[in-house]
Amino acid sequence: MITNKKYLVGVFDDEHTLVDAFEKALAKGVVIEEVYTPYPIHEILTGMKNKTNITTAAFFYGLFAVVMLIGGMYYAAVIDWPLHFGGKPFNTFPSFIVVTIVATILTITLLTLFTFSVRSKIYPGKKADIIDIRATDDKFIILLDQEKMGMEKPEVTELFQANGASEVYEKESN
């Protein structure tokens, strides 16, 4: 969180009122900084217009792994140290596929997890930037930056309260 910002926090009790207020606020041109929820809500994820390319990244990790694995096995079994196994050819390509599949899956998993950790800035022991401690339990939080929310504070407060917010309060970042 950037220092000394003034925030407006809308607290909602359930998914339905949150989504309602969120969509109405967006329609009125309110700029929403972030939404914190106990579980993923797809209206929010699409409404926030954030995009993730983690699936595309995973595809390219897979491609990279396949090329490296088949290349590596070919190098080891044909070029570097060819061995006779019961008269089989050195390049036994179709049976390379088994290792390729398994090791590709492993590579994709590890690299995608690493990407997730780096991009979401999530790692062991990280201190959480908690806005409202109840957001991981039972509250749904909309966070607005008071300078950039595109509407006056009383109007937003009223909009939230009219749409079922259980609390609206101000918070300064530290």
Partner: protein, 463 residues
């Protein structure tokens, strides 16, 4: 969409979101019950016996086992395949039921995944110790070495197995762990204990539940889920090729990969049933793991049991239809009848016939009968592996080399040790980790009430 009116409620009792967190986290916050210590002590004694057996094996050699030059694979490969099979259900639960949009999986997948990780550890011990010099196990790994470099044989199913098991262990553990991150954050934010706050806070990776986090988290789950589905099928297919690519009668068959994969999921689901019964009864998780959940697992088991029965009969039919006298001997003289008939019929009755009781709603709703059948299925699946490994090896093509196989106390101790390790692992899981995926249960809690009525139609049908 889960039809509550047809399939029954996913969560019993009208629970608020915070009640869901509290009730699932209760075992972590409460004082450890006495039975837990007793169960842990028993597990550790079993584990100690296992450790002693491993010590004997390592100091005196594989000769302390009952194997001989004919039956070169005994209890170790049986137990290895058995544990890997049990380990299959976790990923199968998470992935296949996710793909099929079965919302009831949310109450059970965490336990299933925990079981997977512990079971795969138990499984991995057997080939490791069987190597004789386990400290040199890294020779299996293809790394540039000073012995040539001498590479591994990339066509060997044993190398495939090594790759499959290590990949499966790493992937299922990371899949399990990342599923727990939001729940650890819930513990961090709700607990009153400072130590718990610090410890679970460390493992929560700074999770706050922002939309950016959830977006990438969903992307990650999609990727891991998609590729791990392939892995579930490939791991046990590879285990089956350990057998199927050899030319032993009873092993050399194309039926093996699907037969092994289905069998693995069968035994794993049975073990899941054993565990959730314990969670329901010992930890009062009955509101989250309802009769409907148990019912759903039983329905899957009855279906898989029919596949198992078909596979057993197909094997016998093909042995006869092939006209190969070795195949016919193995199946008709050494399995259905002969000195190993008890194991064959144990397998057939426990796996193919007994689960047919699940056709009855009364049986599916009686938790103790379900519990007993789940244990019998696990026993039956052990017999199946015994039946495959020992019968084919003990009487092969050359009658002069026929030999019987009996396990020694060292082997029995080793197996008991892994059971102790498994139960100790599961007990630790019960005590220190949320047994049910809290965030996921919260997500499905809306399907429980009439609340869905005022949501836009077709708008909320997601996982």
């Amino acid at each position: 969409m889960y039809k509550t009116e047809i399939r029954g409620k996913l969560i019993d009792g009208e629970k608020s979101l915070s009640q869901i967190s509290q009730e699932i986290l209760a075992p972590i916050d409460a004082k450890t019950p006495l039975w837990w210590y007793i169960a842990m002590a028993i597990s550790l004694v079993m584990f100690a016996w296992g450790a002693q057996s491993i010590y004997v094996t390592l100091t005196q050699g594989i000769g302390t086992w009952g194997q001989n030059s004919t039956v070169a694979w005994g209890w170790e490969i049986i137990n290895f395949v058995w544990w890997i099979g049990i380990g299959h259900a976790g990923t199968a639960f998470s992935i296949f039921l996710l793909i099929l949009r079965q919302k009831w999986r949310t109450a059970i997948n965490r336990a299933a995944e925990a079981m997977t990780v512990v079971a795969v550890f138990c499984a991995a011990l057997f080939p490791l110790i069987h190597m004789g010099r386990p400290w040199l196990f890294f020779f299996i790994f293809p790394y540039p070495n000073t012995r040539g470099p001498l590479w591994v044989n990339f066509n060997s199913p044993l190398f495939w197995d090594f790759m499959a098991i290590s990949a499966y262990l790493l992937i299922s553990a990371s899949f399990w762990y990342f599923g727990m991150v939001p729940d650890f954050a819930t513990i961090r934010d709700t607990t009153k204990s400072k130590i718990k706050k610090a410890v679970y806070g460390f493992f929560a990776f700074g999770w706050v539940g922002s939309s950016k986090e959830w977006l990438r988290y969903e992307g990650l789950a999609f990727v891991l889920g998609g590729i791990a589905a392939v892995l579930v099928v490939s791991v046990h297919s590879i285990v089956s090729t350990d057998f199927a690519v050899s030319i032993e009668p009873g092993w050399h068959t194309t039926l093996f990969p699907p037969y092994f994969v289905v069998g693995a999921i069968f035994s794993g689901f049975a073990m899941v049933l054993t565990l959730v019964t314990l969670m329901k009864k010992l930890y009062k998780m009955g509101d989250f793991i309802t009769e409907n959940h148990v019912d759903a697992v039983c329905r899957i088991l009855v279906f898989i049991s029919l596949i198992m029965g078909t596979a057993y009969i197909t094997e016998i039919f093909i042995a006869w239809y092939s006209g190969s006298e070795y195949e016919m001997y193995t199946f008709f003289k050494n399995r259905i009848t002969g000195e190993y008939a008890m194991q064959f019929w144990g397998m057939f009755i426990f796996n193919a016939l007994l689960p047919q009781l699940f056709w009855s709603r009364k049986v599916r709703r009686n938790i103790w009968v379900v519990f007993a059948i789940s244990l019998f299925i696990n026993l039956g699946m052990w017999f199946e592996r015994f039946n495959i490994v020992v019968t084919s090896l003990s009487k092969n093509y050359l009658p002069a080399s026929w030999a019987a196989y009996h396990p020694t106390w060292v082997e029995i101790g080793f197996f008991v040790g892994t059971i102790g390790m498994f139960s100790a692992g599961v007990l630790l899981f019960f005590r220190y980790i949320p047994q049910i995926a809290i965030a996921e249960v919260k997500m499905i809690s809306k399907y429980n009430t009439q609340q869905t009525d005022h949501l836009k139609p077709g708008h909320h049908d997601y996982e």
